[in-house]
Every structure is written in C-alpha cells, then in structure tokens.
C-alpha cells in the first residue's frame, strides 16, 4: 500500500444546493452518495441516524443521489420522488420513508398515501416525477459523485475526502472525529 495514497476529494463542495441536516458551520461533515434501492445503503441508513445522534450538533449530514440504475430499476424513480418532495419542503421525510420502505419502492399507492399524510400536493408530486422535472438535479448529484471518486453505494465523504473504511458506527465516528483535528 502506497504511503502517499490520498483518497479523492469532492469536486462539488457542500453548498446551498445540498440537502443537509445540521448547522452550516458544524465542524464535522458527513456526506453520503446513496441509492434508495441499494441494500447496503438501506443498511447504512440506521447507522447514519446513530452517528447523527452520537455527534449531535457537531455534525452536518448531507445526502446526494447516486442511483445505480443498471442494477436498481426503482432507484431513479425513488431519487426523483425524494427531490420532488424536496420541492415541497419535505426532502428528509421522504428520504427516510424511502429507506424505511425499500421493499415497496415503486408502489405508487403507498407513497401517495404518505405524501397526503405529510400534507403534500401528491398530484403535483406524482406529475413532476412522471415528467422527470427533477431528473436534472439527480443527474447533477450523480455526475458530481462520478467525478469525486464515488466507487459504489453508499460512498461517504468525510471532511470532503472519500472515506474508504468500513461504514460501521464506530469507524465512521472515529473517522469523523479524526478529520476534525
């Protein structure tokens, strides 16, 4: 292993366009490129929640789309559904709901019910997804991931550098705290 190895860095820094939880000036930044249909991202979902709980206000968590459309036929639809929910101010609720209902991705009835529960304009949301109104946003996330060195899903970036370690709770917290120093 080369001693001089440096992992690739984000080519598109975290900014106003991003879906983020936590304060803008939080010292620790965890960014995930994820695919809603990927089981590894599904497994990472509760781990990220645990990391957020552990680090509290010190952490900013950012999610960007990286749908592996080749293997995951519902991933694009799911990503666009989350972005359409974002357009009505409810990104994180939809992001969470998608991961909590991975086996039901594509079940439009289930998601329409949830959209109504959230008080969203479900008709508008479904229309925007059908018309791919948010596909450009998803594509922008995806290309930024490709150029930043995303090598699968989930790919995490800590402090702007690709995290190549095991995506478990302990290692992620350690790596985040290490990056702060």
């Amino acid at each position: 292993m080369s001693q001089n190895y440096k992992p690739p860095r984000l080519t598109l820094p975290v900014g106003k366009r991003d879906h983020a939880q936590g304060k803008e000036d939080a010292p620790l930044v965890l960014l995930e490129y994820g695919d809603y249909q990927c089981p590894y991202c599904g497994a990472a979902y509760p781990i990220v929640k645990k990391v957020q709980k552990e680090l509290g206000p010190r952490l900013r968590f950012v999610f960007r789309n990286f749908p592996i459309t080749n293997s995951h036929p519902q991933a694009q639809w799911a990503a666009e559904t989350a972005e359409a929910a974002a357009a009505q101010g409810r990104f994180w609720e939809m992001h969470d709901y998608l991961y909590e209902n991975q086996p039901s991705l594509g079940d439009e009835g289930l998601f329409a019910k949830y959209e109504k529960k959230l008080g969203l304009d479900a008709t508008r949301l479904v229309r925007e997804v059908a018309q791919h109104a948010h596909s450009a946003r998803v594509q922008e996330d995806y290309m930024s991931g490709v150029r930043s060195g995303v090598n699968g899903t989930p790919t995490f970036f800590i402090g702007g550098a690709r995290y190549d370690g095991y995506p478990g709770f302990g290692p992620l917290v350690s790596a985040l705290e290490e990056a702060e120093k």
Partner: protein, 185 residues
C-alpha cells in the same frame, strides 16, 4: 575512485556511489515491478473474452482504451468496480473510449459475472499463463495469484497516458479515468 558499472544495453557506464546504493538497487530489482508509467507503450496482448473469442489490444488502435485490472469477480457489493464502470459507461463513451476488464478468473466466471452485473464491456481472462499480461503491466501479485487494482488509460496510438495503482481493497472509482480521458489529444 568510485566503482563504475556498465549498464546492459546502455552505451555508457553509470556510477554507483556506495555499497548502500548497490544494495538498494538490488532490493528494487527483487520486488515485483511497479505498474507501467505514462509514456510507455501499452504492451500488446491477446486474451479470451468468451470460450471461443479473443480480444487483442491492437484491435482498438485508433480509439482510447481504459484497461482495468482487478483481483477477482464476485466481490459482494452492489456496485463493485466493474459494475460501476458499466454504470458510468456513457461518460467513457463521451470520449469514444473502450473499456477492458482483466482478471485471472476463468472465462466461465467472467461470463456469469458479466451477466449478473449487466456489464457492457468485455472481461478478459488472464488465465493461461496465469497473470502473464497483468505482469507485463506491473499489475500482478504473484504471492496471492491475483491482479492488483491497476488502471491504465491508453491513447489511440497505443501509449499509456495515465496509470494508477489503487491500494489493497480500495475500489478506485472512475474519477481518475475521466480526468485522464479529458486530457487526451
């Protein structure tokens, strides 16, 4: 007077400054060769892509080629390195590039793996003699008997313009390849 050594194939001798330098150069030659650097001609090869078809590097003269050596088929992730390249293929095609994946797996493993990951580029079998092509590129770990994760971008004239060795266990992604393809003339 410092000892003078005649290099093989060189017109002039070169100096070895000390016994320490001599032992360092001995140690370097005992290690497996490092991966080929930009500027080298990409070594020619012919490898099987299916039980009855072969692929040769010279088949692609005139187009840029991405060569991805990797240890083994069937790593257990959603989008492993080969799957990622299949996903990112439209970006490679923007540069007119072809992609070749090479590991020492046999051709039947390659076919099943390519089908499973829906790969849209050939996987070549560096099976017999084992790792011979990988070795020519400095991309073989003899003790383990697998290729390393070494990437090469070869221009349309057959010259390596970029190469990268990814550390053990790290999937290098596509960013370095795309940056290298962008720089091709």
């Amino acid at each position: 007077m410092l000892p003078r050594r005649q290099g093989v194939g060189h017109g002039r001798g070169f100096y070895i400054r000390s016994v320490l330098d001599a032992s360092v150069s001995r140690a370097v030659s005992n290690r497996s060769p490092s991966i080929l650097k930009p500027g080298s001609r990409a070594p020619e090869f012919t490898l099987k892509s299916t039980p009855d078809q072969t692929v040769s590097l010279r088949d692609f003269r005139g187009t840029p080629v991405v060569i991805a050596f990797y240890p083994a088929d069937w790593s257990p992730v959603c989008s492993d390195q080969m799957g990622l390249y299949a996903q990112v293929m439209p970006e490679f095609k923007n540069f007119g590039a072809e992609v070749l994946g090479i590991s020492v797996d046999g051709i039947w493993s390659h076919l099943a793996f390519a089908k499973d990951r829906k790969l849209n580029f050939p996987l070549l079998s560096d099976f017999e003699p084992k790792g011979a092509v990988s070795m020519k590129y400095g991309a073989y770990k003899a003790r383990i008997g697998e290729s390393t994760r070494a990437l090469f971008v070869v221009d349309k004239r057959g010259v390596i313009t970029w190469s990268m060795l990814s550390p053990n266990g790290i999937n290098p992604g596509a960013d370095g390849i795309l940056s290298a393809l962008e720089k091709l003339k």
